[in-house]
């Protein structure tokens, strides 16, 4: 299994017991989110909408790449990757 590091935004830290950074397993972002759900029940529904797609106002980065510029939830998450989940409502 490939182990990755996931940075958790403030508004999701209620699910991670206050942890700002957690470890998860999975070869794609989709698998990583599923693994997060297994560890932190309820967190997946905050990140994905009812159709299982990334919510409109969530940005997810694998390394420096915004997954919307890559393959979305199918973006590969190689071992050791740094993943960041960030509210999109910022800037300007």
């Amino acid at each position: 299994m490939s182990s990755v590091s996931v940075r958790i935004p403030t508004i999701l830290r209620t699910y991670t017991g206050g942890e700002a950074e957690v470890t998860a397993e999975g070869a794609t972002l989709r698998a990583v989110v599923a693994d997060l759900e297994a560890s932190y029940r309820g967190i997946s529904a905050r990140i994905l909408d009812d159709n299982g797609k990334l919510r409109r106002f969530v940005n997810v980065y694998v390394g420096d790449e915004d997954v919307r510029f890559a393959d979305g939830l199918d973006t590969a998450t190689p071992a050791g990757a740094q993943i960041s989940i960030i509210p999109a409502v910022a800037g300007g």
Binding site: Y61, V89, G91
Partner: protein, 421 residues
């Protein structure tokens, strides 16, 4: 959840004037006023909910000659004007007959926000963010910026006597680097584009809990400051709304808040309820909202910006979907222009009205021209455009194409010989 008082015990009551709560624009979920910006349920943007008291034309006109005349409509304490701040706003609304004539318009106004203390509309939003941040207990005023916001945050923090922390892309115009650094706060240039800097700021905001990133973790308050542009336009027109308005789009917040201001004035009975059309302006090198509008989409696909209009170079605009809503609801449009048209727009505004706008102003004038030429904008209807910043901050844009008429010896003979008489 239940037992509501638990939270109240942890969060001291805040006094932000007429503001009552934060409500998610997407799902309607509400929570108490605080340092929150994204909905816990769906990540949607939080908006301020209000209980407006008795706001009248007379009560506004009796207020100070700056944005605090509208404090009864903003998330700020009643005594906001008493603490040191830059006192922005009430910039000129210029009747632009020469520009109108050159474009074939009947009546045109330029809301010239280069007249603010740090020469852009950002002083408005920062003033509101500063007031809210103080009330919410933050210690540092921070931001990611394309330049104008950097100036405004660094200056406002200096005036307020608090620390600033400003993050900008390292390739920013030299003028905007200098006009930020001079205020002496913490100032970091980042090797990346604005969207990279924005992401970094969001991550830092998650660690530095007493840092108010004005356009990140206090964005719901900050963004409300742009409403004052709309309020002022209506008041300066003699308490009425224009028929059409053209607004530059970066994150899209300014456009949506001007629309919100017009709607609030209608609801409060301060202006007559009439139709108006909102138009958005982007640069072709960063046109995600324009592209979505033209394609009929209601989601905005991010782009990697490449334009001289750096203050509008946000490839992933947070309020893009709401811009589309406002523009489509009012019957407007979103258009974009090339960098060459941006430069021509800057020169046209300067030549016809004596207003030197920055590249964002050039985008707006360029789009105005394009909308008139295409017939999307009615030349017989009263139109307002926004010049959001000062051309002195983007000199590089026009430096290659403007210069002296001649260089002569200091003699009358040389002047006569130049043929310039």
């Amino acid at each position: 959840m239940g037992e509501g008082p638990r939270f109240m015990a942890l969060t001291p009551a805040v006094n932000l004037g007429p503001a009552t709560a934060l409500t998610c624009r997407e799902c309607g979920n509400s929570r108490e006023l605080g340092p929150h910006y994204a909905c816990e349920e769906c990540f949607g943007p939080l908006e301020i909910s209000y209980d407006f008291g008795d706001v009248t034309r007379a009560s506004i006109e009796a207020g100070p000659r700056n944005i605090w005349r509208y404090r009864g409509l903003l998330p700020v304490p009643e005594n906001v004007a008493d603490t040191p701040n830059l006192e922005p706003g009430l910039t000129r609304l210029v009747r632009a007959d020469h520009l109108a004539e050159s474009l074939g318009l009947q009546r045109l106004w330029v809301k010239d926000d280069s007249g603010n203390p740090t020469h852009s509309f950002k002083d408005r939003v920062v003033a509101v963010a500063l007031a809210a941040a103080r009330e919410l207990g933050f210690k540092v005023l921070a931001c990611p910026s394309t330049g104008n916001l950097a100036n405004a945050v660094a200056a406002a923090a200096a005036r307020a006597g608090i620390r600033s922390a400003v993050f900008v892309p390292s390739n920013l115009e030299a003028q905007k680097i200098i006009t930020t650094a001079v205020y002496g706060g913490t100032f970091v240039t980042v090797d990346g584009n604005y969207d990279d800097v924005n992401r970094l700021a969001s991550e830092i905001a998650g660690e530095q809990e007493d840092w108010a990133f004005v356009n990140v973790n206090v964005r719901p308050y900050y963004a409300e400051g742009s409403k004052t542009l709309g309020y002022e336009i209506a008041e300066q027109l003699g308490w009425r709304l224009p028929d059409q308005i053209v607004v530059p789009i970066a994150s899209g917040s300014q456009l949506t808040k001007i629309d919100k201001a017009f709607q609030e004035f209608i609801r409060l009975g301060l202006v007559e309820d009439k139709p108006y059309k909102v138009f958005g302006a982007q640069a072709a090198g960063c046109d995600p909202v324009s592209a979505a509008f033209k394609a009929g989409h209601d989601v905005v696909r991010p782009v990697k910006p490449d334009t001289i209009a750096k203050s509008l170079a946000i490839g992933n605009p947070a309020d893009g979907p709401y811009v589309l809503d406002a523009v489509r609801r009012t019957g407007g449009a979103v258009e974009d222009v090339t960098d060459e048209q941006v430069v021509e727009g800057i020169r046209l505004l300067a030549r016809t009205e004596g207003i030197f706008g920055e590249t964002a102003g050039g985008v707006t004038v360029g789009v105005l021209k394009k909308l008139v030429d295409s017939g999307a904008l009615d030349p017989a209807a009263e139109t307002v455009i926004i010049n959001s910043g000062d051309g002195l901050k983007t000199l590089d844009a026009v430096a290659p194409v403007v210069g002296p008429s001649a260089n002569i010896a200091p003699s009358l003979a040389a002047f006569r010989a130049s043929g310039l008489a």
